[in-house]
């Protein structure tokens, strides 16, 4: 079973994942209620607040920032080259 990177979030992740997969296969893929996936949003909020804490602890939030910066840099370089 794929775990959360933070053990303490496993339970919350599991609940959200199950909800998401059900919503995705039974509703989204069938074109029912594509406008929202709210039915999992409460579960996601709980899971996410646990996860965000863990990302901060491990310094991954900074890696994510770097990746965003890097993207901007690359986009600028590619756009510049195309001229």
């Amino acid at each position: 079973m794929s775990q959360s990177l933070a053990k303490q979030c496993n339970e919350l992740k599991e609940r959200y994942d199950t909800c998401f997969l059900k919503w995705y296969s039974e509703k989204y893929l069938r074109g029912i209620g594509t406008a929202d996936n709210n039915e999992c949003s409460t579960l996601f909020k709980e899971y996410s607040s646990c996860l965000q804490e863990a990302l901060k602890e491990r310094g991954i939030d900074r890696l994510l920032e770097d990746a965003r910066e890097d993207n901007k840099e690359n986009d600028a370089a590619f756009l510049g080259r195309k001229k």
Binding site: S2, L5, C9, T18, S25, Y28, A35, L64, A67, D70
Partner: protein
């Protein structure tokens, strides 16, 4: 310094099932034995754009080092932090699914080791327009991988920015002050450009092997979905989880 590798593949499964398999592909080693190197998977964000009906998802995976051993051997331990060959790397995956138009685009990139090698994999899954309904539908996927090594450039950056150096080496704590000189000397000996090119081509070769395995894993999940449907997959996932809890 950039190296690009593109491949095309057709799954003999309908588009919706393939997108579901994409989300499920790391969910359990029972379902996908080719995913045993994936240590964790987390969802950072997931939302449906109310205007387009597109589902945007961002996930982060932790994988046992994808850095090829040959690349690790090339690098001095001062840069890799010694045992970094068996260290894990974080992969950021973003995906967009458009069920109405019948496509899914994905992008995966490594978050650490980017100073040595950045690998960006982009995939475009499409339901063929003239889908043959008699055959149950197929899905085409184009995979494009871009390798980029900025070894020398990054180290020069780090020298100028001690605070960012601390951040990037945080995962592999080394005595950075004494290492900078060492790295610089090592790079100029081999020529940064040559090393960059070698790293890119080594990584490219390894990734081509890996692509076959990831396809094989997708196929196993697709077969399982065909046999038991999503409910069966969720059951199996639950059972596997309970078993692993007992083991702990």
């Amino acid at each position: 310094m950039v190296l690009t590798h593109t491949t095309n593949h057709t799954y003999s499964h309908p588009f919706p099932t393939v997108t579901l398999a994409f989300f499920l592909r790391y969910c359990s080693p029972q379902l996908n034995p080719f995913a045993s190197h994936v240590l964790s998977t987390d969802t950072i964000s997931s939302h449906v754009d109310p205007e387009t009906g597109r589902l945007h998802t961002t996930r982060i995976h932790l994988k046992k080092s994808r850095m090829p051993p040959a690349v690790m051997k090339l690098l001095p331990t001062s840069l890799t932090g010694g045992g970094a060959a068996d260290k894990a790397s974080y992969i950021l995956e973003s995906s967009v699914v458009d069920m109405r138009e019948g496509w899914m685009s994905t992008e995966s990139r490594n978050l650490n080791f980017v100073g040595v090698l950045s690998v960006v994999e982009r995939q475009m899954y499409v339901a063929p327009r003239a889908a043959n309904h008699a055959s149950g539908g197929t899905t085409d996927v184009e995979t494009k991988v871009v390798f980029r090594s900025r070894l020398g450039e990054r180290i020069r950056d780090r020298l100028g920015h001690p605070s960012s150096a601390a951040a990037t080496t945080a995962a592999a704590p080394t005595d950075s002050a004494s290492n900078h000189g060492q790295q610089d000397g090592w790079l100029s000996r081999f020529g940064a450009r040559g090393v960059q090119r070698t790293i890119e081509s080594l990584a490219s070769t390894k990734t081509q092997d890996q692509l076959g395995k990831s396809r094989e894993g997708m196929r196993m999940i697709l077969e399982r979905l065909r046999q038991t449907g999503i409910i069966g997959v969720l059951e199996l996932r639950k059972m596997a989880r309970e078993r692993s809890m007992e083991a702990v």
